[in-house]
Every structure is written in C-alpha cells, then in structure tokens.
Symmetry: D2
Subunit: 353 residues, 4 copies
Amino acid sequence: MKKLVKGNEAVVIGALVAGCDAYFGYPITPASEIAHACAEYFLKLGKIFIQAECETASINMVFGASAAGLRVMTASSGPGISLKQEGVSFIAGCELPIVIADIVRAGPGLGNIGPEQGDYNQVVKGGGHGNYRCIVLAPNSVAEMYELTIQAFELADKYRIPVYVLADATLGQMMEPIDIVEIPTGTVGKEWKLDATSATNDNLHTSIFLDYDDLEDLILRLAAKYRSIEDNEAMAEVYLAEDAELVLTGYGITSRLLRTVVDRMRTEGHKVGMVRPKTLWPFPKQAYFEHVNPNAGFLVVELSLGQFAEDVRLALPLRKVDLLYRVGGNVPTEEEIFARTMECLVGRMQNAE
Amino acid sequence: MKKLVKGNEAVVIGALVAGCDAYFGYPITPASEIAHACAEYFLKLGKIFIQAECETASINMVFGASAAGLRVMTASSGPGISLKQEGVSFIAGCELPIVIADIVRAGPGLGNIGPEQGDYNQVVKGGGHGNYRCIVLAPNSVAEMYELTIQAFELADKYRIPVYVLADATLGQMMEPIDIVEIPTGTVGKEWKLDATSATNDNLHTSIFLDYDDLEDLILRLAAKYRSIEDNEAMAEVYLAEDAELVLTGYGITSRLLRTVVDRMRTEGHKVGMVRPKTLWPFPKQAYFEHVNPNAGFLVVELSLGQFAEDVRLALPLRKVDLLYRVGGNVPTEEEIFARTMECLVGRMQNAE
Amino acid sequence: MKKLVKGNEAVVIGALVAGCDAYFGYPITPASEIAHACAEYFLKLGKIFIQAECETASINMVFGASAAGLRVMTASSGPGISLKQEGVSFIAGCELPIVIADIVRAGPGLGNIGPEQGDYNQVVKGGGHGNYRCIVLAPNSVAEMYELTIQAFELADKYRIPVYVLADATLGQMMEPIDIVEIPTGTVGKEWKLDATSATNDNLHTSIFLDYDDLEDLILRLAAKYRSIEDNEAMAEVYLAEDAELVLTGYGITSRLLRTVVDRMRTEGHKVGMVRPKTLWPFPKQAYFEHVNPNAGFLVVELSLGQFAEDVRLALPLRKVDLLYRVGGNVPTEEEIFARTMECLVGRMQNAE
Amino acid sequence: MKKLVKGNEAVVIGALVAGCDAYFGYPITPASEIAHACAEYFLKLGKIFIQAECETASINMVFGASAAGLRVMTASSGPGISLKQEGVSFIAGCELPIVIADIVRAGPGLGNIGPEQGDYNQVVKGGGHGNYRCIVLAPNSVAEMYELTIQAFELADKYRIPVYVLADATLGQMMEPIDIVEIPTGTVGKEWKLDATSATNDNLHTSIFLDYDDLEDLILRLAAKYRSIEDNEAMAEVYLAEDAELVLTGYGITSRLLRTVVDRMRTEGHKVGMVRPKTLWPFPKQAYFEHVNPNAGFLVVELSLGQFAEDVRLALPLRKVDLLYRVGGNVPTEEEIFARTMECLVGRMQNAE
C-alpha cells in the first residue's frame, strides 16, 4: 500500500511493520509527530503507548519493556536525548534491544527546532558513561526513515543493542510516498526475556558486576560484539567516486544537497563524487576506499562543527579532508557547496602543479 | 598549611581555595566523599551546600547559581554524569562557568566502583546535545586533584565554560599531603551575573535562539572561543621522550604506572618515554611533537576500549599507535605494561630490519 | 455468573460491570490486589490500566481521564489517600465524577496494614482544601464491595462528584461469592466531556475563578447539590431497633460484629438493635429516628478515636451516645462489645430508677 | 522594637523570636511573602532556608529537620496544604513538633486568593489519614499572627505535635505594628533528637508499628495527650456575652467584623456579645458557657459552608445555632451581619412570646 507521509510518521509505520509492541516517550519538537502518530496507531492496534512523565521515565519504561521481551521504541530530540543517556548506558550494559529516533534540533541547550547534526558525538561516540556503543542509522529520505527504522529493529534484536535512527526536522517534516507492507500481529519471541512468568525467572538482565573480572568479561564480550558489527553492518552509498578528483561526503539531509552538487559538477565536466554513510556507527571506513579514486581529496559537509569530519579524518589519515559547515538551523545552500567544491578542486590543481 | 588528605577531599579544598561559593549534588560512590566534605566545610564557612533531590535537579541548581554569579560546582560519577548531560549542554549554550568533578566508576550501566576511564567520550567529545565543548582536566595525583580543581575554576570563569575534573576511585581514595593556601572570603565579582538586583536585570542568559542566524552567531562565537582554548590551554607532561624509540601515553591513574615502567625501561637501557595529557580537551597535540623523537612509535595505555587512543591517532595520523587496555575496574599491572612495551620495541626493531 | 472472590477483587469486578474505562493507581497494601486485578482484567478487555509513578500522578491521571469523559477509578490506602487530597479537591471543584477505593490501614503515618477506620474524617469531612464534599460508601461484605462500587459509579456520574468506597483489609481479603452480571462494552456518553475533538472544545473544566462572585456561585451551586444528595442518597440498614433500649451503631467491618451481638442479646432477652450507615456522607440522620425507639440509648463502636461518633452525636444532640473503640489494627471482640453493651443497658436501668 | 509589618511577615518574625532554625517550603499565593521573608531573614541569620522542589518535598524536609531536633516551619495555602497531608500524618505519628502556617485561599481546587475559611475541616478534623490531631491557632490581627506563631512553637515542642497557624490573605496582607523582642541564638536542646551523632543513635522516630498492640499503645498515648491538650490549651476571647441575648461567634478575620457589629448593637441597646475561638483544636467548648448567658442564642459567621458551625453545634447541643456564611473570597459586610443579627434577635423575641 502506497501512502504519502511525513518522515516522522514514516518512522512510526516502520516501527509497526517491524513488529514494535510499545512506545514510551515525552514529546518535544521536532520529534513530536512521532509521539502523536504512535498515540493514534499503537492504541488502535492494541499496542502500548504511554506518554511518560518525563524523558528519564520514558527511557526507563523502554528499558523495562525491552527486558520483558517487547520490541520497543522511544523518540526525542536533543535535550530529551541527553536526559536519556543514563538509561541508554544501562540498556547497553544489559545488552537489551531498543530503538531511539533522534530528530535532531539545533543546539546546544534549547537552541531551536531547525535542522542540525550537532548530536553526532552524543549518539555516535557515546553520550552516556562507560564503554558501550549504539548503532546509528542516518536516513536521507522519507523512504529511508521508513526502511531504516525497520532495519533498526532487526539490528537491535540481532545484536541486543540500542539503535538510533538519526534525522532532523527537515527529514521529519518532508512528505514522500512509502510502500507499506503488512503489519505483523503478535510479539517476536525472545528466549532471554524476563516477563514475570516462572519460565523466564532466571533471565537476569543487569549491568552491575561487583567483581572486576566479571565486568571486564562483559565489556570484552561487548567489544567483540562491536567489532563484529563494525565488520558486518557498515552501510554507505558511494556515487560517482571511482574517478573523482574530489569526493563530497555528508550524511542525512546534507547528502541530498551533495548529490545535487555532484550532478551539477559532472554536467559541467568536473570529476566530483560522493560517499554517504548510512551507518554512522559502525563508521563505513571501507566505503571511502572501494570504488573511490585513491588520489581523491575530500570535502566534508555537515551541520555541526566538524564532529562528523573527525570520523572521516580517522578513516582517511593520509588524505586531505576539507570541511564546510553551517549550524544553528542554517543549511548550506547549493551555491555555497558548489563554490566550496570549486575552491577545493582549484586548490588541488594548484597543489598538483 | 600541609594536610594529608584523600583525593576527593583535595577537590573540595581546591574548590574552597578557588573561592567556590556553592555546591549542589547528589551522592554516588566513588564520588560521595566530595559531597560529604562539602557538607562539612561549606556550611561551616557560610557557603551553600545542598544535597539535591536528584542529579538533574543538582545540575540545574548549579546552572542557576552560576547565572547568579556564584562560583559553583557539582560532582558525581558515571550514571550521575549521564543524567547531568542535558544541563551541561544548556550551561555551555548559555556560556556559564561551572566545575564538575567526575570520579569515574567502571561501566556501562551500574558497573562497579573500580577505576576506569570509560567516561572519556562522554566528557571529552560531548555527552550532551548540540555543538559545545567542555574543558577536561586529568589529574594524576592528590596534589593535582587540588591544583587542577583550583585551575578549573579559573578556566571556567576565564572562558565561561563548563570544566570537568576527571579522576577515578583510586585517585579519589589515595592519600597524599597537599599545601593549602588561604581560603578567600567574599564572592568573585561577575559583571554579567543575573542576581535579582535591578542592576543586573538586563543580563540575560539563554540558550534559545529561534532565529537560525542568531543561533549560528552564538555557535560560531563558541567555535572561536574553543579554538582559542585549543591554542592556549592545552597542558601535558612530557617525560624522557626526546630520544625515545617508544613513547607511552596515558592520563590520570594509568600515567603513574607508565612513569614507573619508563624508569624501569631506562634502567634496563631501553629508550622509552612518556607523554601525559593534563588536559583531555583541549587535546595537547603539540606535546606529541615537541621534545618528542619524530620517529618514535606510540603505545596508548588506557582503562577504556580505545576511546583515548582515538584522539592520539587523530593527533598522530602518520604514526604507529598501539593500544593496551584493561577495563571493568581492572588496571594493567606494571608487568603487563612492561611486557607490552618490550613487545612494541621488538616489533619496531623487526620492522626496521 | 457466581464467582468466589476477595473483597478487593469484587471492587474491580464492580467497576467493570459499572463500565469503568480506566484505572490509574500506585500500589499500597492492603489495597494492592485492586491494582493487580485491574492490571489483569482491564488490559484483557482493552481498557486502560496505568501504574503511575506516584500517588499524585495517579490522581491527576484520574482527573484528566474523567474530564475526557471516561468512567475512571483509583484505589489506595491511608498514605496514598492523603497524597491524593489536592487532586480530589481539584476534581470536586471541577465537578467531575471519579471513584476512589480506600482500603484503610491502621495509622497515622505508616502504621500497619491491620483494619482501622481512622480515615473517617479525611474522606468524610474533607481531607483536601476548600468547601467540597465526597460521597462515601461503606460496604460491610464482599457482596457490598461489589454492589456499592457499581453504585459509586452511578452516583459519581449522577452528581459529577468524587465517590469513595471505604473498606479495610479484612473486607478486602475476605472471600465470598458474588453474582457477576454482564460487563458492558463501550463508554458511557457524557455531553460535558472534553476529549480533544472539536465538538467538545467548549467544555471547559476548571476550578480557578478569579472573580470572587464567580467562585461563590460555584460553591453555592455545590452547596445546593450537596443538600440534594443529603436529601436523596443517604442509606442505612436498621435492624431490630424499633423497640430497642439500646441501639448499637457502627459501619463497615464493625457492623458485622454488632449484628452478631444484637442477635445474641435478643436471644438472651435484651432489647438491643442496630443502625448501620451505608453512606457516611451523606450521613443517614433519618435512619436514627425512623423505626428506632425514640427513647433508646446509643453505643457507637468504631475503629477510630470517636471520629464516627462525632457524626452520630451531631445527628442525636439530645441522646446519650456512648463509645467503644479499638485502634491500631485491633478489632473489639464479640465479648468486649457484648460486655460493653450490657454495661450500657445496666447504666440505663440505674438512671431510670 | 516596634515595626510596622504585614501579617505574613509577622509570622516569620514570630518564628525567629521563637528560635526557629529552619524553613522549608514551596511558594504559593497568598502565603508567598512568608517564603520571601524567610529567604531574606533566615539566611542573614545563618539559619536554614530551602525552597524545595515541591510541597511534598518541603513537608518531608520539615519532617527530617524536626527529627534532628531543629525548630522548623513551613507555610503554604490550600492546594499546598493538601499535598502536605501525608507528611503531616507521618509527623503526628512520630510525635514530632512542627509549625505550619496555612494562609487559606478560596477553594476548592485552584479557586482564587481571596479570604476564606474552607480549610477548616482539613486542618481541624484531620486532612491526613489515621487517628491524629494538630493544634490549630487562629489569629485575628497582625499582632496575633506574631504572638500565636511564637506560641505555636512552644506548644509544638511542649506536646511534640504539629501546630497550624491558620489565617487568610486579608490577615496576611494587613499591616500593623508589632513589638519585636530579641531573637535568640542557638538551637533549643531536645534530648529526643536524632542528629547523626552517636549520642542520639537510639532516638528512633517512627510511625510504623507492625504489631497491632504496639500501634494501639501509640494511639492511646496520643489520645491521652490530646485529652490533656483539650483540658489545658483551649483559648478563646469572650466579649460582652454575660448578659447577651445573642452571641455572635466566628474566628480569624470574621471575628473583627463581629466585634464591630457587637459594638454597634450595644450602642443601639441590643444585648449582643461574641465568643471568638483562638484555638480551633482544641475547640474552646468551655468558653461558650463561662461568662455567657445560659439562655443566649448563637449566630455563627464563617467563610465556609458551615464547617466551623458543626463544632459550635457539637459544643452546644441544646442551643439554637444559626449560620451566616459567604464564600469564594467574599466576606459578609458589616451590614449583612448586622441585618442577620437583628433577624435572629427578632426571631428570639417572637419565639419567646
């Protein structure tokens, strides 16, 4: 069934298609439509929707529901995501699967509801305490808001790990048609669940390990799991990069602009390509090498002060990596990106002489 | 006056010497002695001490007191630091000075109270939302717990920025003598304060900027401030690195072990040195080049899964950087570090052949 | 359908038969089985059950749900009922119908979970602020726990008023068969509801009236409503009182003992009867006159320090009213009541001489 | 020292003169000036002032501080007093001394900040759960706001009981001179305190008694204490009642009007007097008999729906008791009271014929 929906609604429909059983959250623009849509759809389908008393309550409800074996999600934006960080660390430490949509607003503090990518470090490097990781998916269309949310639930269960769907107000408000498949009924069986039945009594979920060796064992097991995710789950889109002199790289909403610029550059005869991570963690390092001209320069375009560029530089220690950013809700115009791209190309030629 | 104190108490005495007016916090091991000492000392000196109802309350009390022109601090450990992240982002967005002591426990989740460095990404890369930075100081002795806390208040006021003092249970419990100078009376005057007097009525502190350009202006001003801090405030200790074949690098409690290993290596005729960051942000990149053998290899030793190593690698994109870690409350023994150091040295020789 | 149930469960079944749509509460012994049974039955029937984060939250959820037109209830015991008093006053001021089961524990403070009637003043005279009244029903059997709960919902809707069902641990735990009629589906239509549809937009529910005359109008309207309730809804059981020399009076669990004593007294030839209020507010004053010997003396038996006796004395200003009480979870034995009854009878005879 | 102050400020000065050590509260009109004045005076004098996060927190802070041996108070109005009822019951059950100022607003619910006496039942009959009592003092002038607050602390300590000072917005805002005596320094010694020193380790304060007999012992001890208070602490002002045909009775702000009416009546040759309770619990029953014409009729004037009249009727079961009330913030005018008084006098004459 085709339906024209906003990105935020697409997340909710994706959750339903993925068999999500419960939503707990506290509304905050520009993520509020997710709560609104859940309130409407979840209750109609006999699923659980609770608007919690606060962000910390909502992440702990998510925590409990996940431990009880439900597929469960929450959504928020910057300030709310910050308040959830203790919970996320606990959930990661208990190896429980949850999905969090972060519809990023401009920050820090209250900021405004304009598009930004300033939560990158928080969700990718770990806003909470201790050694843990979350998978971070970065859609750049309404279709991907839908598809990557479905995938988020699969990855969360496969690895028993928190998974973020990271978007922004523009993607959340944008309307595009999505192709809705059937919504399953019933709950996915999870043999590790702890749901107040005697059969599950021994399924303890804890993050407290008073013995140092026990905790180290857990963390090393986590580390091995994280390596496995890095080896198997990184995703990126590589576009016209094989012969590119310059590769533009960005994720989410900016990647739509980059592609437009690449096309225009190509029309004008400039060898420009693009690498777009679809997973921010695991960071798709390989995508910057395969089908990419080994001599290319890179221009990072992001809506934050170089947070994403740091990971690009870590992936490409030997390459020149330039950076263009706008922040505060502002997005670089196609002209700005085009001009900066030309500048980088000219700089390369001059260096080459 | 010389006094033999625990590291956690040294933080409190440092705060008093720095003219700290108020402490708001919620107790959590292994940071609790900070609250206990504040309860005792602050009230006796007519200063403000409140055990708040929760971590989120305490960071918001700190927020308000800072806006009112007080020198103010809080302290916590992992889970509590996570809960404070929303507040920290708001405070950074309002450009207000505060000091936070994070006596790191082993995580993620509840973990245990053993020493770890798993909060590195949280405090250094930004656990909260949006584009902001906090200065992070990393003492490795009781004397530095004291001195760097004093410096934390100076830096916080100089740049109007949150400053972390990052330590762990071992440093917090360790006893060493410190040299206490006079505790000042009165409050440091701050012309930007907003303290319910008509004279300060116009001193608005806010992080909400509905106009995108206004918020971008703030963030660019923050970015310029952050560059200035990177240029001027990075601190590190470089030890016997000028001729070193291998440079050990680590911070906080691990650096004490590294120095022991360096001394032993030197005794045995091996050219091994150390670089120890005293500021984690700004990261002291220069320290890895000045007075350091340009051909040296590096061995990072940390109590986390390579969080610190990432910054070392960003600083040294062209060098070989090895990593040794223990986690969960465990600390590598001198023998482990020694053995791994020898391994790296042997590896270098074989590669050189 | 006959079913053998505990009193607490009977309350829940009564609520369902009355068409209750939603339950919000926070568990506390000896009322916890009500929450447990609601959790089980309500969710199965597609009704709303939420264990709120605290008592104040639960009464405010009840408040909102009632305003939205749902039939709604909560349950608690002493400390929880106290915490709800602000909400109850607000709900009464908004003239909204709710049902509250108070399974009284022994107090004050934490006390214990033994049977007591110490919440009498709180629920009958008004534990909250301002001029308002709640209807209070006092069952003395499992059947009445069931029937009076059904009636509580009817009265709540009829008068748009909070209605208490007042019982205690003994009644809550006692098992007796009840006769369950069909549970209706759908929600009772309420033309005054405010449920986020445009049709109900103008249905304002408020207790704030800044103009003194407006508030006085409300309170006088309330007063008239309360008089109407006093005139029409008082209920009592009068037993063998027409020729009684002495009338025992008590409510709830004590009335079961009183009836036993009356029967035994009659067997032994003593003219003793009983008046048992089934509504505590409105207080059934008339029941103390109709079918009651106008020269009878009265003996109040209660599980509180004369709280109930005060209302009996107000109803019978010209009569001798004695009082026997036990408190703290203790209940007077049949022997104690018998002995005291004899004492009163003997006293009457001596006075008559 | 004479000072012209508002009634609300007089409460605070009274508290200081009584040696109050600490204030915990949450502001609400029309009681807010009490918090404001405490914030100013208490901190200057090195005493404790905390604006708590909510009403329930503030009463529990009061609870703890009292247990620790401090003289402590809080203040609020209707909704806040309701939220404190759980705490008050716990404090009464632990037999701890506290003082609460209730500056009554018009209710129920939010109501408005006009004068009313609708909290009578709540504070006099017991808004909380279980068998307990609070002493209730009812000043009718700024001087009494001051003096009765001092007395409140004395009574609280003498009987280890919560004591209310019950006033309203008019008394709170009215300005009159008071005569301030010296403010003591130091804390009143209490041998039963539990203050974290080993000497007080065994001073347990609890309201939980799992054994029914133990709780009954407590409640009977409380009952004996309450009788002693009834016997010794009732206070009233009796004015020109010895020969009165009609006695007006009211408390607090209404009693000022009554006295004016009595004086005017006397000028016009009518034998009218007044009884004004200064304690609402214990209710000064005796005052209605001593120096009062035994044949007098009574007219109750109150700002509530007969809550106070009920206690008058309980005290005077054999007399005619009429009632005049206004509510919602409205106060009866002198003319209204005068007219109603005349009506009652005429009624008496007609009945006498």
